[in-house]
Every structure is written in structure tokens, then in C-alpha cells.
């Protein structure tokens, strides 16, 4: 019996996957998964089948983000049910295959948890990415991880925006968890970034083991940064970027950006200021892969979510 009213029950998380190389040039995840495919001792937990998996092997081989189209945007219902087989873009075919192995998305057969490992050129530190404000299992996991790595920090980014939310590879699972660690250039492996990601996964798997053994997690609050708006670079009539992220904003992920603060600097030295109506918390500042997605950074607002107590069913 639960010690708490409104405790939420979940089935044991028996099937867990760790995706590396959803983007082929984000090296921490690629390296960790390759390591664990060879020797999985480190990721084994009692009662859990944990499968390390290279999501986009062709992109990994070429050390490029993707071959035809971004795999981490490819898991829409249209793509997952599209006919056409070999004529489809490589990543759409791959999304269908991943959905067969780890899904089907939205069904009871889907994997319980998928951890999707990413790097960013932005100075985001360790960031956990949540797709639903109502996923109490994930909220409790993230709370556990944050407490376990104290005094080191790990922030939670929530992307539930109706327009900006996208169909990720991890969304095939019942509980999708994104893990973004930066700053790291694409194609580069930095020892400290690699180790940070490794430690976070260790704690995440510990949480799952404890949960499966019957531990009840009391209600808790989790501070999240809720995605609000995408801001593009200033561009000329031909679509070319005409300003860089301002030096005052560069590397200041998660710090408050107030109306009037410097935001961009044109190549001839003029400052463009943030014109929003209130303070926001920018992140994904100057992420290389987002130039083509018309994004210099996203703004977020700080919110506190309440997670119900959880225990296994």
C-alpha cells in the first residue's frame, strides 16, 4: 500500500534502450554505445534488459548529423506509416525499423524507457529533456538524477510546445528521456563530456532498478525550463545570416535574458537587443546544427512541476 495519497502506479520498467548516434557526429553517445555493445556489464541492472543501440549507423559511419533527413525529426505518424520501402529517405526507413524493434509507438508493446544520447555545441552543461509535463515516472527519475549528482548540476528542459515539439527517436518508448551534454564540437570526443554523460546514465539505471525493486518515491518538485519560443538569426534578403550571437549572450545558456539585453552583433559591430516583454532563459545558444533550422537559440520560462509519488504496480 502506498504511504501517499495520489500515488501513481507504473509497471516495472523491464525493457530499456540506450540510443547513441541518433545524430552521427555527436560522439559521446556513439562512443558509449559502442563500448557497451562490446561489454555491457556497466549498464546491467537486475530485472532489466538494457539494450545499447546505434540509431543511425550510416550517419555514424560518415560522422555526419544525418544522411538524407534528421532522424530525430522523423518519427511522425505520417513517416512511420509511409509506404514506399527503399524509395523512402534513409532516415524514414530507419525510423520505421526502430519503431518495429522498440515500438510500436503508442502501443503496450513499446519499450518502457529509451535514453537518447546527444551532444550540443551550446554551453548547456548536462541537460535532461522531457517531452511531457505529466510523465511522473520521468519527473521522478530526473529528480533522482539531479539529487544524485549534486553539487554538479543537471537541468531539465521541457519541450511540450505544440509547434516546436518534434518527433524524436526516443518518442517510440513509453518514457522518452533525452540527454544533451555540451559544449562539444560535432565530430569531437571530449573526455569530461563523455564521463559526465556516463555518470548520468549510471544514476538513471540505478533509479530504474530501485523502482523495479519496489521503492516508492515520495512526491517532489522539479524545476523545469519550459520551451517558449525559437529565435532565428537576423538574415538578409537572400537568407544569409548577417549577425552572430552577441559575445554577452554566447555561452550564457540558462542565464536570464532581459528585454534590452544584447542578443546579436552584426558583422560590422552593431548590437541588436532582445525585444521580448519579459525575462526569459535562453538555451541551445549557437547550436551548429540549428543554423539550417532557423534557430539561434530557444527561449524558455522557469516553472516548477509537482511530481506525484510513484511506485510499481
Amino acid at each position: 500500500m502506498s504511504a501517499y495519497k495520489n500515488s501513481v502506479c507504473f509497471n516495472e520498467a523491464r525493457r530499456v534502450a540506450i540510443f547513441g548516434g541518433t545524430h552521427g557526429n555527436e560522439m559521446s553517445g556513439v562512443t558509449l554505445v559502442n563500448l557497451w555493445v562490446k561489454n555491457s556489464a556497466e549498464i546491467q541492472r537486475k530485472g532489466v534488459e538494457t539494450k545499447p543501440f546505434i540509431a543511425n549507423p550510416k550517419a555514424v559511419e560518415k560522422c555526419t548529423r544525418y544522411v538524407d533527413t534528421d532522424l530525430n525529426r522523423a518519427f511522425s505518424p505520417e513517416n512511420l506509416s509511409a509506404p514506399g520501402g527503399d524509395d523512402l529517405p534513409y532516415e524514414v526507413q530507419r525510423a520505421q525499423e526502430i519503431n518495429r524493434i522498440f515500438g510500436p509507438k503508442g502501443s503496450p508493446e513499446a519499450y518502457d524507457v529509451i535514453f537518447d544520447l546527444h551532444n550540443t555545441t551550446s554551453n548547456m552543461g548536462c541537460t535532461l529533456i522531457l517531452e511531457s509535463s505529466k510523465d511522473h515516472f520521468n519527473l521522478q527519475m530526473m529528480n533522482y538524477i539531479k539529487k544524485a549528482i549534486t553539487p554538479a548540476s543537471c537541468l531539465v528542459l521541457l519541450n511540450e510546445h505544440p509547434l516546436l515539439k518534434y518527433s524524436t527517436s526516443r518518442s517510440v518508448a513509453k518514457h522518452p528521456v533525452g540527454l544533451e551534454v555540451g559544449p562539444q564540437p560535432q565530430g569531437v570526443l571530449r573526455s569530461n563530456i563523455f564521463e559526465a554523460m556516463r555518470v548520468i546514465l549510471k544514476h538513471a539505471l540505478d533509479f530504474i532498478e530501485l523502482f523495479n525493486e519496489g521503492m516508492e518515491f515520495p512526491p517532489c518538485t522539479v524545476e523545469v525550463f519550459w520551451v517558449s519560443e525559437r529565435i532565428d538569426y537576423p538574415r538578409d534578403a537572400n537568407g544569409n545570416i548577417i549577425a552572430m550571437v552577441h559575445p554577452n549572450l554566447q555561452d550564457c545558456d540558462w542565464e536570464p535574458l532581459n528585454p534590452g539585453d544584447p542578443m546579436f552583433q552584426t558583422f560590422d559591430g552593431k548590437t541588436i537587443h532582445y525585444q521580448g516583454s519579459g525575462t526569459v532563459y535562453p538555451t541551445f545558444i549557437n547550436e551548429a546544427a540549428y543554423y539550417e533550422k532557423q534557430q539561434a537559440f530557444v527561449t524558455t520560462r522557469r516553472e516548477t512541476l509537482v511530481a506525484s509519488a510513484i511506485r510499481k504496480a
Binding site: N34, Q184, P185, Q186, F267, A288
Partner: protein, 310 residues
């Protein structure tokens, strides 16, 4: 030594500024695009200034720039050997080989009197190298004085002079097409990102000013060797990362037994050379495929006399 004696520099009349030799090294791409815009504006406004100098602005690898990749088929900045430039072109020649010949026609021909006086080729690196001027020579006065001038006018970024001791006949990069040339490398910057601006504007005034330039000394880092990552003997995949105590410590002297790599199982691998050397290009993304985890250099001081132009 007559350090105070003024020796005349040859006059520079044609200078090339090249960006995007690697399509994802964006500082140069953006700078050249901005300069092209200004040049277009000046032409439209029909500015009839008497210009003693012409500046040729080049986006070296447009296809790679468009795709934001280092190269399409092969590294353009290795295609400028005499053999590549003068060899025949097959129907299936890679894009960059074709492009290197076009650039040789535009800026060279390499080794001929028609070649531009100076090629300045702009690059970025993911390594923490600040601003580096990279040249085949440690005694080319134009390169050395350019470096000193940049050092004097740029205070917010560390600067070094790197010397690749490669004989002229074996030179392979774009900057070897001009009578004089150097690459300007600025980092750290991830590929595909623009963060750092190259302080190029001060150079034009310097080259074309005709004033006396002070002499002095330059600390030159001459490349000695490269070190590759430890690799798995079967798969050839890397099995260690640059050690955290070495990461970002470009140009900090590396002593024998200093940490070099950390394996994925946590073991430290140490530098086994006998001589302390200066590391650079530490963890440059593009060099993984070239088998280079870091490069090592010796440092020595080079004296340069005062110069003036005619």
C-alpha cells in the same frame, strides 16, 4: 647585428583573401561574404579612389560551403601540390581537384611571376589555439611582419606563429599558390558555428601603408611530429580520448610522462617522448580521420629587421 637597419619589403600589389577552403569553417566564410558585399557596394557607388592594391576575395570551396561540410569528395587544402595542379584531369576527378585547378588559374599559376603576391587563407579549428598564423617559412618577412602587426593590434586573443617545415616543392595548401602566403587559423570554434571574428581589417592598411615597420622578434613554433589516438587493432576505432589535463592546453609545454590520453576504462596513457614539446591542434575534429590527436612543436626565437615599403 644591424637590427635597426631598415630593409625594404617588396611592394604588395595583389592580395587574395580566401574563406571556406573548408566549407564548415565559418569565420572565413562570413568574413569574405561581408567583404564581397562591401566591394559590391563600393562598385555601385562608383568610388573612384586610387587603389594601389587589389584584393581578390575568394570563397574557395562553394559546394562544401553550401553543404556546410569540410569537403565534398577530398580535402581541398591538400590539392595544391605541383603534381596535382599540373597533372591531367580525368572525367571522374573529384570536385576539389577540379576546383584546385580553377583556383590556381585565378590566383597563380603557382610558382609563376603572374601569381598573386600574397594568399591569406582563413580557417577555424575546434582546438583551443587562439589565433595562429601558419606558414611554410620561418624567414618570410611578409609572414613575420604580418604576425607582429596582428599581435600589436589584437589584445583579446592569444597569438602564435606556427611553422610547417615543408620544402616549397612539397607544399600542398592553398596559401602556397601565391608568391607569399599563410593560413590564419582561429579557435576554438565548433565547425558549422560562427563565434569568432578574424581581425583582418587592420591588415589591409598595414600592407598598403608604405610606412616603416619596426623589427623585433617572433617566437616561432616549428612542427616536429603528430601523435595519433590509441586505436583498436581490429576495428581501428579510437579507444581513448585526450586526457582532461591536456584538453584545451594548446601551447602549454608537454613534458615526458605528462598525461596524454584517458582510455574509456579510465587508464591514463602518458607522453613517452624524450623532449618537452609544445602541443597544438589538440583534439581538432577534422584530424581524427588523418590520424592526428595532437601535433607537437619546438619553439625558438627569430629576429626580424625593420622593414619599410618602397
Amino acid at each position: 647585428m644591424e637590427v635597426d637597419k631598415v630593409v625594404c619589403l617588396p611592394r604588395l600589389s595583389r592580395v587574395a583573401v580566401c574563406g571556406g577552403t573548408h566549407g564548415n569553417e565559418l569565420s572565413g566564410v562570413y568574413l569574405v561574404r561581408e567583404l564581397l558585399k562591401e566591394e559590391k557596394k563600393a562598385m555601385e557607388e562608383e568610388e573612384e579612389e586610387e587603389k594601389p592594391v587589389s584584393v581578390v576575395l575568394v570563397l574557395s570551396n562553394p559546394w562544401a560551403i553550401q553543404q556546410c561540410r569540410r569537403y565534398v569528395k577530398t580535402d581541398l587544402n591538400r590539392c595544391f601540390t605541383h603534381a596535382s595542379l599540373n597533372g591531367p584531369l580525368s572525367d571522374s576527378a573529384p570536385y576539389e581537384l577540379i576546383r584546385s585547378k580553377e583556383l590556381n588559374t585565378l590566383l597563380g599559376p603557382k610558382g609563376s611571376p603572374e601569381a598573386v603576391d600574397l594568399v591569406c587563407d582563413l580557417h577555424n579549428t575546434t582546438a583551443n589555439m587562439g589565433l595562429c598564423l601558419i606558414a611554410y617559412s620561418d624567414c618570410d618577412w611578409i609572414c613575420l611582419h604580418t604576425f607582429k602587426h596582428l599581435q600589436a593590434s589584437t589584445s583579446n586573443i592569444p597569438m602564435r606563429y606556427i611553422h610547417f617545415d615543408v620544402p616549397k616543392e612539397e607544399s600542398y595548401s592553398l596559401d602556397s599558390v601565391g608568391k607569399h602566403g599563410f593560413a590564419m587559423e582561429i579557435g576554438p570554434q565548433p565547425h558549422g558555428v560562427v563565434r569568432l571574428q578574424i581581425p583582418l581589417f587592420c591588415l589591409f592598411r598595414f600592407y598598403f601603408s608604405g610606412t616603416i615597420i619596426e623589427g623585433g622578434f617572433v617566437d616561432v613554433f616549428t612542427m616536429v611530429k603528430h601523435i595519433d589516438y590509441p586505436r583498436d587493432s581490429e576495428t581501428h576505432n579510437i579507444i581513448a580520448a585526450i586526457h582532461p589535463q591536456l584538453q584545451d592546453r594548446d601551447f602549454c609545454l608537454l613534458h615526458p610522462e605528462d598525461p596524454l590520453f584517458q582510455t574509456f576504462s579510465g587508464e591514463t596513457l602518458r607522453y613517452k617522448g624524450k623532449e618537452p614539446l609544445y602541443p597544438f591542434f589538440i583534439n581538432e575534429c577534422a584530424y581524427y580521420e588523418k590520424g592526428i590527436a595532437l601535433s607537437l612543436a619546438r619553439k625558438r626565437r627569430v629576429m626580424i629587421p625593420c622593414k619599410g615599403t618602397l
